[in-house]
């Protein structure tokens, strides 16, 4: 044993081994998942598979191991100390919430034995008083917490005679089980188990009857193969490249209208790009889209200065006004309260709030003759809101 003389971790380790043997598990059936601290020294003591990871993270690693193996005949045993159980408390709760098929054994000696005997989040107030620690915060009850989170089986065991029977019950329970074992640190706590018993939390046991967490294997559909190709169906009158800026507000359909313009450009035999920009809170504030249409393949997708700007709202204008060059052809919705000399048009009057961007795009296509607005109509013909979108596109005739 790699532990100090009298250390409780040796008994805990032997008890796990006995429980597994008595339940009939073979060495190739078990994966021991351990982490850092004195409890993390267990790997070489098991003739099973093992994986030794980071401080406190073994319950999370165990979730991946268990779901990855996905075999109810194989067992994932996770071992950590009380220090690990607090740094990785979220991992325990998550494993319990999902009721992942694994057994977590917490060797609780109420201190950090490997770093000098500091108190942990599982140290009781009585033990902290004994160690003259000033921390008065109550300890975590990891057994209760895991139970509340949904673990199938949770139990605290203080008496050595009950270690193996409790572990057998836990390991035999499908789903997530947690067993907290009281463990004496002879280097930093005390030398006698009888004294130690005065400082620990009483035994408790909880059950939840819940389905075991699994990760189903799915048949999925290809992401690209099923995309509809956009064949050239329309002509175009574009020479070179043109950058179109569409600037509105969230909820105004700017992003989807710009995407439909880029797709329509492909139907018109052009190359296109569409880049969206909006605040991280996508439901409010500005919504900007840049569309590049080009005879030649497009590499750089930025828009240093736009050739065309379709401004739908004040929010959009504020965001893009610096991108407007003297040569930029600008149209502004006449409902937007913007003081400027730019041409105003009734896009939102014609297309409505959600259709203003499409109305503006169709208006510009018709005015410029780059390609027919009919290409836009073609793009949306199978859309679930085809009628509304077609109305918005055709509304350019009323602008």
């Amino acid at each position: 044993m790699p532990f100090c003389p009298g250390c409780g971790h040796g008994i805990s380790t032997r008890s796990i081994s006995e429980a597994l043997e008595q339940l009939g598990y073979g060495t190739k059936d078990v994966s021991i998942v351990s982490d850092i601290g004195c409890a993390g020294l267990v790997d070489p003591l098991f003739a099973t598979h093992s994986i030794h990871g980071l401080h406190g993270r073994s319950p999370a690693l165990g979730v991946g191991v268990s779901l990855g193996i996905d075999n109810s005949k194989k067992k994932t045993i996770v071992i950590q100390g009380d220090g690990g159980a607090t740094i990785g408390l979220q991992h325990i709760l998550e494993a319990a919430r999902r009721n992942i098929d694994m057994t977590l054994v917490v060797f609780n000696n109420m201190l950090f034995g490997m770093t000098g005997g500091q108190m942990s989040g599982l140290s009781t107030n009585e033990f902290k008083d004994y160690k003259q620690s000033a921390d008065e915060a109550d300890p975590y009850d990891v057994v209760q917490l895991a139970h509340t989170a949904g673990a199938a089986y949770t139990r605290r065991v203080n008496h050595i005679a009950n270690f193996t029977p409790a572990l057998k019950e836990a390991i035999a329970t499908p789903g997530f089980s947690l067993v907290e074992l009281a463990s004496l640190c002879t280097s930093y706590a005390m030398k006698k188990v009888s004294e130690y018993q005065e400082y620990i939390v009483e035994e408790e046991k909880f059950l939840n009857d819940r389905p075991v967490g699994h990760l189903p294997l799915r048949q999925t559909k290809p992401l690209i193969e099923n995309m509809k190709g956009l064949d050239t169906l329309f002509g175009n009158n574009l020479n070179g490249r043109i950058g179109v800026l569409i600037a509105g507000s969230a909820g105004g359909g700017v992003q989807s209208a710009a995407q439909q313009l880029a797709q329509a450009g492909i139907l018109a035999g052009l190359h296109s790009t569409m880049k969206g920009e909006y605040p991280i809170t996508v439901g409010t504030g500005f919504s900007i889209a840049e569309v590049i249409l080009s005879k030649d393949p497009i590499h750089y997708t930025g828009l240093e200065k736009s050739d065309v700007a379709l401004i739908i709202t004040e929010d959009g204008f504020k965001k893009v006004k610096d991108l407007l060059a003297p040569q930029t052809k600008v149209w502004i919705d006449d409902k937007a309260e913007i003081e400027s000399n730019y041409t105003q048009k009734g896009f939102s009057k014609a297309g409505g709030k959600k259709g203003a961007a499409l109305s503006a795009i169709a208006y510009w296509l018709n005015e410029s003759g780059v390609f027919s607005p009919d290409a836009l109509l073609k793009v949306v013909e199978n859309h679930k809101y085809a009628t509304e979108l077609q109305e918005a596109i055709n509304s350019y005739k009323k602008v």
Binding site: H49, S50, I51, Q90, E94, I266, I280
Partner: protein, 370 residues
């Protein structure tokens, strides 16, 4: 001769990379949502054979490590804040020699910065992300065809070399949609993961001349396996700085650096008699392509190098660069991180940087520096 019918669509690289990884045999996507990697999350939820939503990025990479140790190929996608949380576990997976692919979509920092603004500012962090100085393979796609092929190569390298691999992208690369002929994407074969012949008695970390130990998963019926993130011997048990254990740690570096020719990817467009070279990577590569085309059209002789294997730095990159009198690095960060990785911070009249912070670097800004 059979000719392919072109199929033009409006598409983004998130979709391309996700599909490529699944076709390459990636088993499970485990993610925690973060901008601008959102599209990877939503596409993966539709496409991966298994999908799992983690409660935080530390859990995500721990779960991935468990899946990988069990013989699966896991994938995640995140941005710098998530990568920062994953860093300790990334070191663990690297030390355990667990195959996995991490897609990092760069955004404007520091800290939470601007989540919806692109950048190329995470390269130097990744250069030193493995404590001890060992290299982590980092591939960076420069266009949609790269997105397809490098995603496949990332999965292949992860399995072949038993290592995490980073696919380093940026917001504009994976969220901007472009017209693209998807018939140019050749179907991909799943990476071979059959168990290779091994020397008996099996030892988890005993490697032969190729310096990569034969991988057997947890719960296998053939041999006992022991994965270990602490310094370990060939058996996978903790070793206290003995020669065998330290040799295993050295091997992490050697297995990648001595076989880097097997995963060296770059694009070199050389012009005869050119003394100037433009070097770029990732999202800035397209601006560099346009800049070089413009310069050539105006009679300037200039060559172009697009680095795609960023780390470890392939000797071929230095070999090409050394042929030129003047080199201009083009990248979207404050200082020119790729340049600093190759040359350090020292300024030189021969080495120039065209950089941009907060917006995309344009072709004209590269031309100004040449």
């Amino acid at each position: 001769m059979e000719t392919k019918t072109s199929k033009n669509v409006l598409i983004d690289a998130s979709r391309i990379i996700t599909e490529a990884l699944v076709q390459s045999g990636a088993d499970v996507f485990i993610g925690y949502p973060i901008t601008p990697s959102n599209l990877f999350y939503s596409y993966s939820k539709l496409r991966f054979p298994q999908f799992l939503a983690g409660p935080d990025e530390i859990s995500v990479l721990q779960w991935m490590s468990g899946f990988s140790a069990a013989g699966k190929l896991p994938v995640t996608a995140t941005a710098f804040p998530g990568l920062a949380l994953m860093t300790e576990t990334l070191n663990m997976a690297y030390m355990m020699e667990l195959p996995m692919v991490l897609i990092i979509t760069q955004r404007l920092g520091p800290s939470t910065g601007s989540a919806t603004t692109g950048a190329q500012g995470d390269l130097k962090f990744l250069d030193g992300v493995i404590s001890g100085g060992m290299p982590l393979p980092i591939f960076s796609p420069s266009n949609f065809n790269d997105a397809w092929t490098l995603a496949h190569e990332a999965a292949k390298t992860a399995i072949k070399f038993r290592t995490p691999v980073i696919l380093l992208t940026s917001k504009e690369m994976v969220m901007t949609q472009k017209s693209f002929d998807v018939s140019t994407l050749e179907p991909l074969e799943p990476i071979d993961r059959s168990i290779k012949p091994y020397e008996k008695p099996y030892q988890t970390y005993k490697a032969g001349a190729d310096k990569v130990p034969v991988f057997l998963p947890l719960a296998n019926e053939l041999e006992q396996v022991r994965f270990n993130s602490s310094t370990h011997n060939n058996l996978g048990l903790i070793g206290k700085n003995d020669a065998e254990s330290l040799g295993n740690t050295w091997r992490l570096k050697e297995k990648l650096e001595t076989r880097i020719d097997e995963f060296t990817f770059y694009e070199y467009d050389a012009q005869t008699d050119a003394k100037n070279l433009v070097v770029s990577w990732g999202i800035s590569a397209d601006a560099a392509r346009d800049a070089v085309a413009h310069l050539r059209k105006n009679g300037k002789k200039v060559s172009l190098l697009i680095a795609k294997t960023l780390l470890p730095v392939p000797p071929k990159i230095y070999e090409i660069i050394d042929q030129y009198e003047e080199i201009t690095f083009a990248e979207e960060n404050m200082t020119g991180m790729y340049k600093e990785m190759l040359y350090g911070k020292r300024q030189s009249t021969q080495i120039k940087v065209a950089t941009k912070f907060g917006t995309m670097l344009s072709p004209s800004e590269i031309i100004e520096k040449i």
